[in-house]
Symmetry: C2
Subunit: 302 residues, 2 copies
């Protein structure tokens, strides 16, 4: 039996729109085992997803196809901790989980870069799949030769991350619709310069520098209107010296602090104001997905 | 007598439009001495610039004003190696030279950051003055509190830089006029992601990565038309595996190689094709401006 765990990822980090993402310690796990009775069975998710369209199976199949191997009869057990359509990269988690499961099944012939290329083709963009595979903070894009370029940045150990997950979804289509089509040249230079400061501030641990850097003009001013109560969350973050950004296309908001008292205060204030929301203290996952073959003893234990 | 040397700077590096610049080993020097006969005299530059409007004197005066000191009677001797209006930061060189001269005159009360703030106010933008002061590759911008933010990047020691200086000027006004006013969102993400890869490629020394990164959509496609023979220069660079970018708003083009044979081949081919142009092999100046009080013996020697 094969076990794969994949981290949730939070894209954009304000000024890294569509090219930056970070892996955090909120994981989904997937078990792959030989299926002796049928070609495919899936458990651990709603019945409507227990079929060949399931993204985990799609990833599993894509890796088999890439390797030229027939798709084995498989049972997939899903234990997902990453909420769907909340801006935490749940589709990237499923795709990478399936790819890594198949890769492990055939004794890992594929490199991480190959997994990234396949996952990017399936997902359409690499900003979530890159950190799901490599861990940490990644910038990624598809270059003019259709290769995926990745830069990984060190994340200062003193930052804490808090995922603030509202009780509503935002569709990516809606989140795209509210954006303008063009930006002024001055605003482009703003985005470029602030993204360069952001990646540096993530490394230095200087929260003032991070506050200065994570000042977006590209998507956050427009998407905030889709996230009910955004101004109140922002105000609570200001009280705790937390930098807030919209995770992916929302609805999750991610807060960054570099003082654990500030993080505790923030979590407590958010929970008290929005008791129906989920609030998770998470860290950076610097490793990315993990796959392993479970021994019989581990399987019994599992 | 005070001697200040200031490096030329080359801004933009393709995808760092209006916010990135690099200091190179092409220096102008300025000597400041007490003037016993008049308030100001200037030598070493054309007569039309030997007056109070001279940028070196303007910088000298600005630092005195900032310090609340009366402007001393001064003779300024200019020995400029940085060509004017060629995209090599000649105005930043003069401003920083004057500021640093006055700062040395009063025993260096101003920090580099203060010099940067004054120089940026005079120049209007920090992308040339930041590397002229700090050296190396710098990203700089004016934040919403009117503070100048700077990020300095390591430059790999294996890169060579070649300044290709045509025998014609390009006015900054013309170079601005050819630019569009807006960019599409896809192109903004292209600029952000490529600038992040560029700063990393400058650090790693990987010339393939640098070729991929320095693919600009913001100004170079438009400004190339102002630089006669750009396509031929680009073609010669391709033969020498050199990355080419338009320095500042031109007319200088900067080529980056990581193999000295390639650099030699490039210089030779450019000199042979454009014998009336200047071609300089330069390195990165990692230190920025230097100011010193010359001893009597050094003055005699000088």
């Amino acid at each position: 039996m094969i076990k794969v765990t994949v981290p949730a990822t939070s894209a954009n980090l304000a000024v890294g729109f569509d090219c930056v993402g970070i892996a955090v310690t909120m994981h989904s796990s997937f078990l792959f085992s030989e299926n002796e009775t049928e070609h495919l069975s899936i458990s651990g998710c709603p019945a409507e997803f227990q079929n060949e369209d399931n993204l985990v199976y799609q990833g599993f199949k894509a890796a088999c196809d890439f390797l030229g191997e027939p798709v084995p009869n498989v049972h997939i057990e899903i234990n997902s901790k990453v909420p769907v359509s909340r801006g935490l990269g749940s589709s990237a988690v499923c795709i990478v989980g399936g790819l890594a499961g198949a890769n492990q099944w055939f004794d890992n012939p594929l490199t991480d870069q190959q997994l990234l290329e396949i996952a990017t083709e399936m997902e359409g963009h690499p900003d979530n799949v890159a950190p799901a595979i490599y861990g940490g903070l990644c910038m990624a894009f598809i270059d003019s030769h259709s290769q995926v370029q990745v830069v990984k940045y060190p994340v200062n150990r003193h930052y804490q991350f808090t995922a603030i997950i509202p009780d509503f979804k935002i569709s990516t289509a809606d989140a795209r619709r509210v954006l303008p089509k063009q930006m002024s040249y001055a605003d482009v230079t703003h985005q470029v310069s602030h993204s360069l400061l952001m990646t540096r501030a993530i490394e230095t641990g200087n929260i003032d520098q991070l506050h200065t850097a994570m000042n977006d003009r590209m998507h956050e001013p427009y998407r905030q209107q889709l996230i009910h109560h955004f101004p109140e969350v922002k105000s609570l973050c200001n009280h705790s010296d937390a930098v807030l950004y919209v995770s992916g296309s929302g609805s999750t908001m991610m807060a960054i602090t570099n003082d654990s008292d500030n993080q505790e205060q923030l979590i407590s204030s958010i929970q008290s104001k929005f008791p129906q929301w989920s609030v998770h203290a998470v860290s950076v996952d610097n490793n990315g997905f993990k796959s392993e073959v479970l021994s019989d003893r581990e399987i019994l234990h599992y």
